[in-house]
Each structure stands twice: as C-alpha cells, then as structure tokens.
Homo-oligomer: 429 residues x 4
C-alpha cells in the first residue's frame, strides 16, 4: 500500500478516470441485468457500483469531510462487503434479492459521492493530501478489482440465460498457435515482493523478502484450447491418478468434463463469452479452469505449475520492473483472452489474457502485518484455502497489473478468467 506522491489535480484526474470507467462497463447492462446474483460468489452489477462508492464514503469521506453524514444510512449496511469492523454486514449470498436501490438510484449515490470527493480533494492542502492519498489510491485499485469482477460476474449471469445475450465485442478469427517454448531461469536467493518506490501495491505484496529457488524453466505462453482438447481426448477428466483428491471429488460431484463455459452441441464444443457463444477457438488460451484442472493438466503433461516466487522472479528477469511490459490489458474488442504472438524467446501473454494459477497457497509473506482498523481486513484474513494467481487478464483494467500482484481464488473456482502456464525443473540435485 505504498503511495505515490500525489497532487490534488492528479488525484482528481485519476479519480475521474477510474470512476467513469466503471460506469462505461455498466452502461450496456439493463436494470434487470444489474440486479441478478446468479450464484453466491457473484455480485449484482449495481452492487459493485454501489460498494466501490461506499468504500470512498466510508474510508475517505467519513473521516475527512466536515459535517459528514452518509448519503443514506441503510447503504452503510447494504454495501459493506466484508469489513466486520465497520458493523454488521448484509449476507453475501442474498445480494440478489435486493431490488432497491435500483440501478438509477445507485447512479445518484455515485454522483453524490463523486461530488463530495471532488469537493474534498479540491480543498485539501498538500500536507493533508500526503495523509489521505494512500487511502484514496487504495480506493482506485479497489474499484479496479471490482471492474474486473463486474465483468466476470455478469459473464456468469448471462451464461445462464437461454436467450444467449451478448455483453459486447466481437469474436477473434479462428487461429492456431506456434509451439510452446521454455524460458530458462537461474535460481538462487532472490528477492520477492513489492519494491519501495515502485508505485502502489496492496499490503499482501509486502514485505520484500528472500526466497531460495532452484533453477527452473517457465513456459513462454499459456496453454491453448487446442492443447486442452488433447488432454480431454486422452481421458483427462476421467483419470483419477491425474488429480488432487479434492479436485477429483469435484470432478465427480459436479460432473466436470470441460472448462467452465464450454458446452457440447451435437459433438461440437462451444464456448460462452462476453461477445457471444461460438465454437471453441483452438489457438486461444484455455480459460475458466480451476486450480484443480490446471494441476491435473500439468500432471498429465509431465510438468507442474510454477510457484508464485518462480513466476515473479521469472517475469522480473524477463521484463525488468516495468509494471506492464506486455500490457495489452482490458481488451474491449473481444473481452476475451487473445492468441499469443509468435514466440521470440521471451515470456508471452504475461498480463493481459488469463490470470495464471500457481502452485502456491495464498499465505502471508514472512513478517506480514495487516494495516490497523477496518482497512486491515482487505487481504490478510482471506489467507486460507485459496491459491495464488499471477499476471492479469483480458478484463483487468489498464494500470492495474504488476509483477508482484497476488490475486487469489479457492482452488475450485472457475468463474474467474483463469488459465494455465506450465513450469518444469526446480528439483534439487
């Protein structure tokens, strides 16, 4: 959570950019679309729009605005997601039964908070900015996370509708891909985590610490749909010896036989995307697979998933510290991962296609301490039963990804835009 040096003008401009991007993403969605919660993990669009607004109201305005009063008392309760310290929360699984405030009312809420935030920032002297900018900047990145979730969530909502609604964008042409290559990485005692002065990070990327790595190899691109079809053809979903025990239990209980959004129509695999339902495109990265599937694929391929430290070190070695060296994020042409460009001996598809499952459980770095107060509930308390994903995806907003970023989901989650990059080697001699 180290903050950049901000001025009021820069804060105002960034505030406007981030906030208006959310509204652009919600614009194609009807009030009815914005109301639905299709499963407990999914939140309604209008809830996302309101919750990120609540964040600014609660963590910035409440403690900095003169004569603060909440826009609406009840919103305090409705749009708290998981901050136990702020007070009682509305049950996550029941967000979809709340028809009011409607999409338009949420727009009024956003407008009100935006005006108050702009007034607030406008009136701050630099000394106060230095104190509050970190929280405002956290609000930017928080809202960006929800921009990504908003798209993942509405993708699920629309997937259940027999009318096959389209969110937006157009499909990529049918493509194939060149052979996967490997990037060799030297091991040793390496530094992992966010570096001082390198811009924003979440608290879970800290502290910077040392990890010992054996030499290893990292695949230079993501696994494709075409490769995944080979795994399926070879009985990938029917062979228990390939799977973690909990993963195999899910295969059997849920009848997994293909990635999350694939459906078989008369022997042809189709994929639901935000731009519609189309035959599976073999050259695109496989997406919406769980950690269990990624791990089983790696076992089948005689390889493994990388640890998060391997991933981070390889990316830094390959690209330097630049935040988004391959930064083709937030593809608004397809809202979907893209085919890899031709191989050039370096890592491809690092940030803008699929979040990449690692073999690392989401645990605190040595010496990690969450921030004090409610803000401290941001990350640390989720460090249980989740696996780390690295990189970014086609729905990640510009400026949001970086080498030290730690995303996380439970190993059975499939509605996130997740994919697979293999690793190899790393055994001690």
């Amino acid at each position: 959570m180290t903050a950049t040096q901000w001025t009021a003008a820069a804060l105002l401009q960034r505030y406007d950019e981030v906030r208006s991007h959310t509204e652009r993403l919600a614009a194609p969605l009807s009030p009815e679309d914005q109301t639905v919660q299709s499963m407990p993990d999914v939140s309604p669009t209008k809830w996302h729009r309101a919750h990120v607004t609540w964040f600014f109201e609660t963590f910035v305005l409440a403690s900095n605005e003169a004569g603060f009063a909440p826009f609406q008392d009840q919103y305090w309760f409705l749009f708290n997601s998981y901050y136990e310290a702020v007070g009682p929360r509305y049950n996550r699984a029941e967000r979809g039964v709340i028809s009011r405030p409607g999409a338009h009312d949420v727009g009024l809420y956003r407008g009100n908070v935006d005006a108050r935030m702009q007034d607030l920032i406008d009136g701050l002297d630099q000394g106060t900015i230095d104190k509050v900018a970190a929280t405002i900047e956290l609000g930017f990145h928080h809202e960006q996370q929800h921009q990504e979730l908003l798209l993942m969530d509405i993708k699920h909502v629309l997937s259940l509708n027999p009318l096959r609604p389209v969110y937006g964008g157009a499909p990529a042409p049918l493509v194939d891909t060149d052979r996967m290559g490997w990037v060799e990485v030297e091991g040793g005692l390496v530094e992992i985590g966010h570096r001082e002065g390198a811009g924003f990070s979440f608290d879970n990327e800290l502290p910077l610490h040392q990890v010992y790595l054996e030499p290893f190899r990292l695949a230079d691109r993501l696994i494709t749909n075409g490769e995944w079809l080979e795994f399926m053809a070879d009985g990938g979903y029917r062979r228990p010896e390939l799977w973690l025990s909990d993963g195999w239990a899910q295969v059997k209980t849920n009848g997994w036989a293909a990635p999350f959004y694939w459906s078989d129509y008369d022997g042809v695999w189709f994929e639901h995307t935000l731009h519609g339902t189309f035959p599976v495109n073999p050259g695109l990265p496989v997406s919406h697979v769980s950690h269990y599937e990624a791990d089983a694929y790696a076992t089948w391929a005689g390889k493994r998933l990388p640890t998060e430290a391997e991933w981070e070190h390889a990316v830094r070695t390959d690209t330097g510290d630049a935040a988004e060296p391959h930064g083709n994020l937030a593809d608004t042409e397809t809202f979907h991962p893209r085919a890899a460009e031709p191989g050039n001996g370096r890592l491809r598809q690092v940030y803008g296609d699929c979040w990449e499952w690692t073999s690392s459980a989401y645990l605190p770095y040595p010496g990690f301490h969450p921030a004090a107060g409610a803000i401290g509930e941001y990350n640390g308390k989720f460090m249980s039963n989740q696996m780390v994903l690295r990189g970014g995806c086609a729905l990640t907003p510009p400026g949001h990804a970086r080498a030290s970023y730690r995303n996380f989901f439970p190993p059975g989650a499939r509605w996130a835009l997740s994919g697979v990059r293999l690793a190899d080697g790393g055994a001690p001699a």
Copy 2:
C-alpha cells in the same frame, strides 16, 4: 371447468379486463423489483406477467391461430411453469437469474399476444367460440390466480429489503373487534362441489358428490392478531404438546416464534405489509400463518379447524350459492385483510380477507378425472402433501372466489395470505 355461454364481445371485454388488471398490479414495480426471486416458492413479477401470456399463446393461439408461430421460441421454454407435457421446463428455483427478457420486453410480449388474441376472438363464429371459450375462460382464471400470487410474491421480495419499500395503499386505523360467535350447522348427507350451471370452476371442484357430516359449529369470524398474541403469551410456540410432529420440527428448525411477517423491535411487534411496516393491529385478522400454526392455535383454544366439506356446506347454508356474497375482495386501499364488521349471527370475513386453512388434505373428489393433455396438469398432480384453504383474501381479484373453490398450499407455507377460522363439535354421538 364448466364454461359459461360466451359471445365474442363478452370474451373480448373480459379478456381486456383481466389482462389490464395484471398490468395495473405490476405498474408500481420497477424493472429491478420485477426481476427478483426471493426464494424458490416466489416467482419474479415479470415472470408472472409473461407466464400468463404464455398460457394464452400455448393453449389458445397455438391450436387456433392460422399460421401460428410463437412470438419467441425461447419464451416457450422460459415461461412454462409445470406443464411437463408441453416440453422441458426451466428450473423453477432459478427464475431469478434470468435478467432478459426484461420488464419492458415482457410488455412487448403481452402486447403481441393481446393483439393476436383479439384478432382471433374477433374472427370466431359462435360454434368455434363454444369450443374454445372454455380454455380462454380457464386462461382468465389462471391469470387471476397469478394476480394474487404476484402480490404475495412481491410482498416477500420487499420484506427482505432493509429499505422497507412500500408497494402501495395505506394502513387501517387501529381497531379492536367484538367477541367471536358461532354459527350452528346441521349435518347429514350433503352435496359438496361445483354445481352444474353455476358458472366457471376448476376441475378439482368436481364432481359434485355426497358427504356425511355430523352437526357442528363454525366461528363467525377469523382469529385476530390480538387473540394470536394471547396464544404467544401462553407459550404457544414453546409447547410441543400443541403441535403436529412435523409442525414442531419446523418450529424448532426455523425458529418460528410469531407469524411470518412479524418482527420484534425493542419489545413491540411490527408487521410487514404491502403498505409498509407498522405495529401489529390487534383487531385485524392474523395472517401469514402456516397450517401447522393454525392447527396448534386451534388445539390451544380447545377447538379444531373445519374440514373443507364443513366449510363449504356452512357457507352455502349461510349465504346461498351467490359467488361472492360478502365480496369485499381485492382491497386496493390497504392490500391487507380488514377488521370484521359487527357480528350479526351470520358468517363474516368469508371471502375477502384471508384464505382459511382447513383440516382437509388436498385430494381428488370421488370420481375426479383430470382433463386430457397438458391442461390436465392444472390441478390433479398437485394432490399430495398439501392442505386445502377455502374462501379468498384481500389480494384475490374480484370475481375469482366462490363457495366451491379449493385453494391449496403445503402445511408449512407462510408466504400466502392465510388465516384461521375455528370449528367445534362434529363428533359422532
């Protein structure tokens, strides 16, 4: 399902009345309100509006319209409720995840079917009318049932919203009620069921048949909130000996301690209604209690619930065959049951306040045969694990109730607008 003698003009007029009443009921509800399914038993408002339209399209237009084509193929699937014979059905519990067609699209669907129905009826000769009128009339009564359900369902949706939204209407003044009296009814071999020539009925009200009754007494009004508070104060919800075994299990599992929509705020009982949340009004009929609660109350009071035959016979004896003798149905001033008028030795609150639980399981009358084809799925297949309710309620549309009408819900259901009338006597000498 005996039909009245219809002319095209009369059918058209009635069609227009029934259809426009549905839209009037939906008018106060936003697109978001119309989308929510708050529990599996509840359907979204826009689903109700579309499903009753689907009924006319499927059972009238499909077999009578020249060059019939459905308005939208997928609607065929989405808005079928339980007619297995018509094809696969969309899972009831997942109606709330379908954001499209939206409320406006459903309006277009309704307009299209209305125009086609009007064209169809306009062009029919009397001979054809005589053949199709029964199905169209069934469609009227079907839509009326859903008008009532639409209100019961949205009442539940709004009840979960911490903003306490109001559907419409205003509260009644605080009232008290005179003492409950008894109407004595002679027994003997009596006729039960719908009589030839008495207008429309559903198939489950047939055949007319004989039942032997011992003499008994029926309460002249419904049990009030005030009387229910006495039951509660006397440990009604804590004494297993008052309860059916399945009912007691629900008390314990669900923590029942008061009627469905009552909440205790700082020691005062409030009730959620369609006109808002107000302190419990002691003189109004108690409502939204399950069969189990009604039965436990009767046991506590040293009385019992009437059988459906007793109820029907008592009402006929008291009021003659007039369909709605006390017909203060569909109260659009409060959308809520009203206080009983002063006693006059006859039955009060028969039709327009609360559906009344009986002690009769919902079973076929002797010689009952469902109609052939999909229409035959209307009633008969639900004759299991449900209890009969008689009368009508404050949400029942005008012209919909009658003495032989058999409503039914599972004994644990509480979201229906149900109340309690006691019986006594009836034991053989």
Copy 3:
C-alpha cells in the same frame, strides 16, 4: 385403545409371548448388526429392543411400582422415541452412534424390566388390573409394531452390505399368478372405525363414524412383480403424466427406476430380501414401492387406489369382523410376501403380505381426541404429510392386524413392506 377384560394370568402369559417374540427376531443378529442405523428412518435393532422395554418401564412401572427407580437414569433419555412430554429426547438420526449399552446390556435391561413387570402383575388385584391393563395391552401392541419395524429396518441395513448377508428363511419357488379379479362393493352410508367390544385398537381407529360411499370395485389380489415389470417396460418411470408432481420430483432427484430393493445385474432384475438376493419372482406381490409409485401404477392401469374407508368397508363386507380372516401373518419361512392363492371371488392377500397404500391422507376421524398425557402422543401428532396403509404384511406379528387398523407412512417411503391393490368406480352418477 379399548381394552379386553384381562386377568393377571392372561396378562402374564401374553407379556411373555410378546416379549420373547422380540428376542427370537433379534437372535440371528450379531452385536454389530444390532448397532447400525443405515438411514435416519431406520433404528438399530438394539434400540428397538430397549425402546419397547422403556415403554413398559415408563408408562407402567413408573406409576405403579412401589419404590420405583429406573434401571439406568440415562436409558430414560436414550430410549425415548418421540414422547416430548416425558422429557428431552435423543436425536433420532443419531441412534447409530451409540455403541453402549451394547446388545448384551440391552438384554440385561430387558431381563430386569421383565422381572419387575412380572412381579407387578402377579401382585395386582383385579380392580387394579382393570385400571392398568389398557396401558400394558398398549405396550403389547407397541412392541408388535416395533417387531415389524425391526425386520424392515434390518432388511435395509443388510441391503447396503456388499457381502449380501442373509437374515433367515428360504426363497419361494418361482411362481406365476392367475388373472386379477374384482370384488363389487355396494356403497351407501357405512360405518368406519373400531367397534366397541371388538378387542384392542389404537386411538386413531376411533371414533366409529359414518362415511358415504358410491358403489365401487376392489381388486381381489395385490399387483405382482410381473405386472410391475410391464409398467416399467411401458416407460412407467419415465412418463411424468403418470405421476403426482411431488412423486415425479422424487423420480428425478433419486433416480427411481424400479422398486426399492431391485437391482439390475447384467440385464436381469434381482431383489434383496431377508432370505437373500434372488431374481425377481414374477408371481409374488410387488413390494417396497412408495405411495407415489403405487399411484402412478394405478394411473397407468386406468384405475386408482382405494380410499381407506372403501378398503375397510370392502374387507368387512367380505370377511365379517373377524380380526384376521386370512391371517397368514409373520411368515418365518421366507420373511417375504407370498403368491396369491387361486381366485375364489373373494378378497385375497388381505393381511399377511404387503401393507396396501390407500389414497387417503392420514387425518383424524371426526371427533378424534388423543388421550391425555404422554400416551396421547402415540398417534395424533403424526397426522400430517402421511398416507394411510391398510392390511398387514409378511412381517406383521400374529394377532396384530385387523380391519380397522390404520398404518401410515410418508408418501415417498419405500423401506416399509408396502404393496398395491387397485380400486375402480366410485364416481357419482
């Protein structure tokens, strides 16, 4: 619950007969067999043995024995089944986790209570006998009910064991059966219920009351396995139009495709019985079908199930009031229903083969009042969500069945030894 006139000697003799029959039934079962609870509806054998003993201790000894003290305080709690008035109960679904007291300890408990009961009865004068005999006689019939349940329950326990253990008995030879005939029954106003002076009955068989019946026909024997195979071959388990809605839901949820204990091995249907697993014998009555299946079969056959009043009236008309006119109960040669004897114009297989599903919900007779106190919980509180079965079965102990006996199970229950007898006619003219 009307009692016979008893003497001490007769009571002692009957006590010994009933109690030792239970032990004979448990004798083939190991301590391990007697411990298992294979599903919540099933109770362990040693629990049955202890619970019927607890009944005598609680309802007879506690109020009549001088210086009464329970054999073991904790047993008071462990072996109460559903008598809320007696105190807290041990959770029914967890009877299978109680390893102690073991089977041998339960034997000691039985011996202790037997000795005390014998002492008690021995010392009673006739006046006291006249007061307590009704409760002791209720204890006999209560224990007989559990004898039947003990066998139904252990049948289920053993059915889950891949070793295919045998309880006892030998299979009947392969048989076929003559054509089903019909017995015509005149209707009218008839008396239903237990008659004064006709020996013991449970409270739910009272009061004697009048019911009006249209003329009808009752099948002269039960439906056979062979006939059931025709139903299956004609898609009986795949055609929703044959089923009650709740029944069809169970077909789909539970994958019902044959009676409960049937399994398909390489295209041949086998049936698990207490005497082992054998190919389905076409001439024997079909058994272990739910009410839903019985109802669907009747619909498929163009017939219906009888009401309980029709069944009782037909049996009385056919056989007079004799308790067990066809009394081939408790078949210890096969522990299984037997083939019908050749038709002779009268009802066959009335008592000793399968309990017969009726179309009547289990509800109180007009004027029914449960007994006061804990004993009053015997029957009345179960009058919800259950269907009545009439007759008796091959596991019913001798002397336990009669024309007015009302057995009851939920409509989806299949582990009881239930079968199907059809009715026809009965429609009002």
Copy 4:
C-alpha cells in the same frame, strides 16, 4: 520412503510388534464400539483393523505370494481407503453401515494375513528382501498412522455417548505450569526434509531442499488450557478481527466457543478424554483446537504460528537429528497430553503431547514426485486445502515421530489431537 537395511528376522520381529500393538489398542472396545462411524471423518475401529491388513495383502502379498488369492474378494472393495488405482472404493462416509464382517471376522482376516506374511518373509532370500522391504516398512508406518487415528476416532465415538464411557487410563493430577519461554533461532539458508540414511520417511518429506529463513523465536512449550481460558475470557471466540475469514465463518456456523471436547456444566468447563470427563486441567496443553483457533489465538497473543520449515530447523538445531529426543510418546497412562517439565532453555513437549499446527499449507517440496502406481496415492494427492502439523502426540506410537515428519489436516479439523506452539520474529529487516 527410504528403507533401512532389513533382514528377514528383523522384519518378522517388527511386523509382530506393529501388528500386535494394533490389537492391544482395540482390545478394550466391544464389537458395538468397533462398528460405529460417528461422522464422515471417523472410521470404525474394525475398519482400521481390516484396512491396515488389506494394505499388506494388496501391496505385498498380491505381488509376491505364490498362487495369491485374496482372503475374501469383497474385502478388497470394503477396505480400500482411497487408492483409486486399485479399483472402485466403498464410500468413506458409509463405513458405519457395514455390520459384517464383524469384529471377530476382522480378527480372522488379520490372523490369515499375518500367517501368510510370516510365511512369505520367512522364505525370502536377502535379494528379494532388499526389494520388498521398503513396501513392508511402509506398511508398518501406515499401520502406526492408523493406530493413532483409531484412538482419535474412538475418542469421538465415545464423546457422543451420554453414558460417558471410558476407553482407559487415569487422569493426571491438577497441575500448573511455569511461564512460557522462547528459544532464539538463527536463520539463513537451511536444509529442510528427510536426510539420506536417517531411516524411514514418507515420500512427502523429500526431497531435501534449501529454504531461506530470517532469524526467529520459537516458544519453548505448548499453550496451556489455562492460557486458553484467558483467550476465551477476553472474547477470543467473539472478536472477528482475530480470525481468518473462513475461520470466523466456522465460529458462527458451528457455534464454536471453546475447544472441541470442552463442555460447560453449570459454569465449569469439563473436558472429554479417553480416560473420562473431568474439569479442565489448567496446566495441561490445550488440545483439539483447529488451525483457525490456533491462528486466532496467536493473533490475540500478538504472535504467530511457525512455518513448518522454522519448526523443523528449530528442532534440529535444538536436538540434533535424533528421531525422538523427547520421546514420551504413546502415553498409555492417560492417553492424553501431559504437562511440560520445568523449562531449561530448550524446546519442551516436541513429540509426545499434541500435534502442532504450523502456518504452512501442505504442498509438495520442490522437486517432489510421488511413487509410481497405487502406492503413489499415499500422500501427494492430498496436497490441497490442508495445513501441516509437526511433532507428534500422546497417541502417536513409539518410533513413529521424527523431525521431518509432515502430518496434515484441513484447517477446520478438531477431532485430531492438535495443539499450539507460538513463533515470533522472522520479519525481514
């Protein structure tokens, strides 16, 4: 899985020791006790006895015995625990419904396999011994794991019995404990894992590899019941800020308010143990707490749990490589953890009291590869959603614990004999 050098005589002697220890542990348990499965995680005693026998039959006899035939075909299916490669498995959660084979039959099975194993080993030349000894030795350690589980499982079974049965042993006197001290450990690049030549290990302890550690401190003893009572008194189970999110969800869902086997009788905390139910002894280590509780306690105390690498390195530094330096395992006097001896600047209670939760997820070591074939399913496939525990406990058999041993349970598990040791420091400068 590195094997020691074995001779036939040594193998035979060890075989006899391990096998007869299992029977000694089962001896106090009745056939009924041995049959019960009190929850899905628990296995019946007779299942443990049979399953460890099945292991020798399947993995040793089947491939080495001339003319091999299984003792009983069906046992092949019934006593396979999780080896998918061996064939279909019997559903874990239903082990408690299998009454046969009974406890005595399982004894016969054990006797048969023992005789065949002894014959086999007797007849082997040294070359063959060198090949099969590794699998036989794995069987010894497998059986020892089940000896520990057998006791943990029967502890749970007996805990549900209102008769409060005792397994064996006597309580320790009431004790208090001296203040917890800290052992300082230097960090650096350290070796973790099982060392070549140091006797047996499971595959999950390999490969030996390097880990970088910052300097840290490890508590010199376990947290006591007395200290846990302070945590409870300070609202430990009521303060969400102390808990991981998944842990807090379990607190609320399951109503956790104290360790697993504690019950409050009239304001005094009692603890269920294998030697009976007694008031909580403040000086004994707290036991049967989940990872979530251990983590919340550490947060409350301003400390943290150690990583598994920290634990292993600290123990090696403190004690050298000796397998069981503090080896007071398998306490048959109390079957319960004991009070710490007075502090002496070194680590106390390392092996014989409670398994110690670490902050490490159970994941493969760098370069880990499971063995080929069914044996390869031993450990690797469970590396998901579990946390590592280190040390050993009062139920661990002698010779079974070592510094590199990795035990694992899901973070919510409480029926294992688990406790808490704190760590501190370790942050990078």
